[in-house]
Amino acid sequence: MANLEQFRAETRAWLETNCPPEMRKPVANDSDVFWGGRNTVYSSEPQRLWFERMRDKGWTVPDWPKEYGGGGLDPEETKILRQEMAAISARLPLSSFGIWMLGPALLKYGTDEQKREHLPKIAAGLIRWCQGYSEPNAGSDLASLQTRADIDGDDYIINGQKIWTSMANFADWIFCLVRTDFSAKKHDGISFILFDMASKGVSTKPILLISGKSPFCETFFDNVRVPRSHVVGTVNRGWDVAKYLLQHERSMISEVGERRGTRPLGQIAANSIGTDEQGRLDDPMLRGQIAAFDVDEAAMACAAERAVDLAKAGQGHPAYSSALKYYGTELNKRRHEILMSAGGIDVLEWESPRSNEGLTARSWLRTKANSIEGGTSEVMLGIVAKRILDLPGA
């Protein structure tokens, strides 16, 4: 315990010295988020400094082994680092699907060679990854995917189409689910494979969304040649890797309930609507909605914390992240509905400096995908019903 307290004190002091003041404010727009990659551009000098200092400590991936560019911290230390970062509203130094999704899967299923090749580059933000899971006709029924990989000597030849590939147009590499056996049952013929997005035959096309933005793409593979050694885990057993990775994705998405650096809803609403003589929000119904939301959000933060503690105590259930993903994303949608109510007419302007180019409205629209991406709320409830509650049928 004494060691942990010392670690906390040292971490706090280090963050105090090394986190630039500009990196302790909520991100204002997409360009404020640092994603790394081959064609990386820093939006500001403080962003560069913050990233490089954290990278040098191994704290872009604090809980990964040091040999792969991580910080080698144990779970308690990682929790303390996160708490101390949250306490000063420090931004993430590096946002990365490599960190959140691929990394944990490679640590568990990758060969030594794959780990040595990819993990340090993820930690150092050198390669930006995207995820090739969804397909146009698969949707929630992910395992019905049809992108095919046919053996040709030492290579696979990949043909097919992916959809909802987040930021594929900026990605350097893709981790991708492909069908390697069409005769097997649908979960048993899938492989998990990695390849360079610069390979011949790969093309991407952004999809315009209701928010007016396009974080997502359609991605096309036309005779893309990939070495067979790029398969992670066992050929035709890619579903295991995919499921493991999804758990991490769901934990990540459920953490949208844990917002750091954003102002409390009550305060945002008070600034917009005003308060009565007693300092109470001048809209009792909205005040009630916000209070009810704050209760649930605080409880959700406790549950996210407990999920980590349960896992550490060996009492976690692999499907637990589905429950939290469901709740966290529904909660985030609720938050944004309240933000729209609180902002009223002012946040309805789509293109104006007054509304910061429709920032609130665009975010509100973006959150509607929370309960679809990474498995819909209905799929999450189905998983909880079958895997945790052991209810009968299908």
């Binding site: 409390p264 009550g266 305060q267 609403a269 008070a270 308060t275 300092g279 109470r280 929000l281 005040r287 009630g288 916000i290 209070a291 009810a292 704050d294 209760v295 649930d296 605080a298 409880a299 959700m300 406790c302 549950a303 914390e305 407990r306 503690d309 349960l310 550490k312 105590a313 009492q315 637990y320 429950a323 939290l324 469901y326 709740y327 209905e378 999450m380 409830l381 189905g382 998983i383 909880v384 019903a385 079958k386 945790i388 509650l389 052991d390 209810l391 009968p392 049928g393 299908a394």
Partner: protein, 379 residues
């Protein structure tokens, strides 16, 4: 601190569960109700509870208790919630033990705490006056009179007030209803002249009382804590009580839910187990998630009461608000998914619905605590 029970706490849970499920299943409450039992709980079982160290769980060791914390009290309350065992655990072992330990003079502690730990003294907390829990609106008067005070007023919803050997009463020595300052807590012997107690048979077949105080004379020694400044002490006691009741509601929610899931796996309709229907699966999965999130919030509040007592208001408000809404949902879904049989008195599930309703009101319902949170957050 990790939000999971440690080994000692798990052992405590197992021993409480063993005793309670064995000696006081729901049938125990049903029998007390059906026989119009004179006191509404079993003195014999309470004695066993005391022997096992539960009565004095929060009493410091120097006064013969176990000197444990709110997390442990919550563990026992959760088990009580699972079978709805009626007992003076909340009134005496949680509320009175907290009140005396935190606010009592040395003389008061030595007079009461040892007896309390032995299960020989039953005590209650008298706060509410109106239809809803509003401690700040306390109107009962305590006027200085000679060396002591004269109490006038009426209290309702005094849990175990009908069997108490000691009543802890909140009254106004100054200020007006609605004002923070001016509250004082008194230790009153219910046999004192002018105290009238009416046992109120409640919807949940648990015990409460209405107490009227008519010119009740008490000495200055009966003041618990400081005169005029009882608000903070009362707030602390209530917060422990709220977290404890929230734990009971977690127990109620889990038990009602567990019975419901079991029923979904055995009941057939349209030639299928009803648990195969997606409409019911999704509602069950939602309820599971809701309970898990509430459990975490309640555990957080209990841990904070043990480690950071003075900064627990928000965490307790979150816990009690969540527990109230979760238990309400759990019992409603339980009755609905059980269908007609869930509406029958013969079937136990209705007992959970009634108790959840009482727990929801006790020490502030979901709306009260959401309001508290809004106030604490300054909007």
């Amino acid at each position: 601190m990790a939000l999971v029970l440690n080994e000692e706490q798990s052992m405590l849970r197992d021993s409480a569960r063993g005793l309670i499920s064995d000696k006081a299943p729901v049938a125990h409450l049903r029998k007390l109700r059906d026989t119009n039992d004179a006191i509404g709980f079993s003195r014999e079982l309470w004695a066993t509870f005391a022997e096992m160290g539960f009565a004095g769980l929060l009493v410091p060791e120097e006064f013969g208790g176990s000197g444990l914390g709110c997390v442990e009290a919550g563990v026992v309350m959760e088990e009580i919630g699972r079978t709805l065992m009626p007992s003076p655990f909340l009134s005496t072992s949680v509320l009175a033990a907290t009140a005396l330990t935190r606010g009592g003079s040395e003389a008061q502690k030595s007079e009461y705490l040892a007896k309390l730990a032995k299960g020989e003294l039953i005590a209650s907390l008298a706060v509410d006056e109106g239809a809803k829990h509003r401690p700040i609106k306390t109107a009962m008067q305590a006027v200085r009179s000679g060396n002591g005070f004269r109490l006038n007023g009426a209290k309702a919803f005094v849990v175990d007030g009908h069997v108490s050997d000691l009543v802890i009463v909140a009254a106004r020595t100054a200020g007006k209803p609605g004002e923070h300052d001016g509250l004082t807590l008194f230790l009153v012997d219910p046999k004192t002249k002018g105290v009238e107690i009416e046992r109120t048979i409640m919807v949940d077949a648990h015990n409460a009382a209405r107490i009227v105080f008519n010119d009740v004379e008490v000495t200055a020694d009966s003041v618990l804590g400081e005169v005029d400044r009882g608000g903070a002490l009362l707030g602390g006691i209530l917060n422990v009580g709220r977290a404890a009741v929230a734990s009971e509601m977690v127990g109620i929610s889990e038990e009602a839910f567990g019975r419901t899931v079991a029923y979904l796996k055995e009941r057939k309709q349209f030639g299928k187990l009803i648990g195969e229907f997606q409409a019911l699966q999704h509602r069950a999965a939602h309820l599971y998630t809701d309970i898990e999130i509430t459990k975490a919030a309640v555990m957080k509040a209990l841990q904070m009461l043990d480690t950071d007592f003075d900064n627990t208001e928000a965490a307790v408000a979150v816990a009690k608000a969540r527990a109230g809404s979760t238990a309400t949902l759990a019992v409603q879904e339980a009755v609905q998914m059980h269908g007609g049989v869930g509406m029958t008195d013969e079937f136990d599930i209705g007992f959970f619905m009634k108790r959840a309703r009482v727990c929801q009101e006790l020490f502030g319902d979901t709306a009260f605590h959401a309001e508290q949170l809004a106030r604490l957050k300054g909007y």
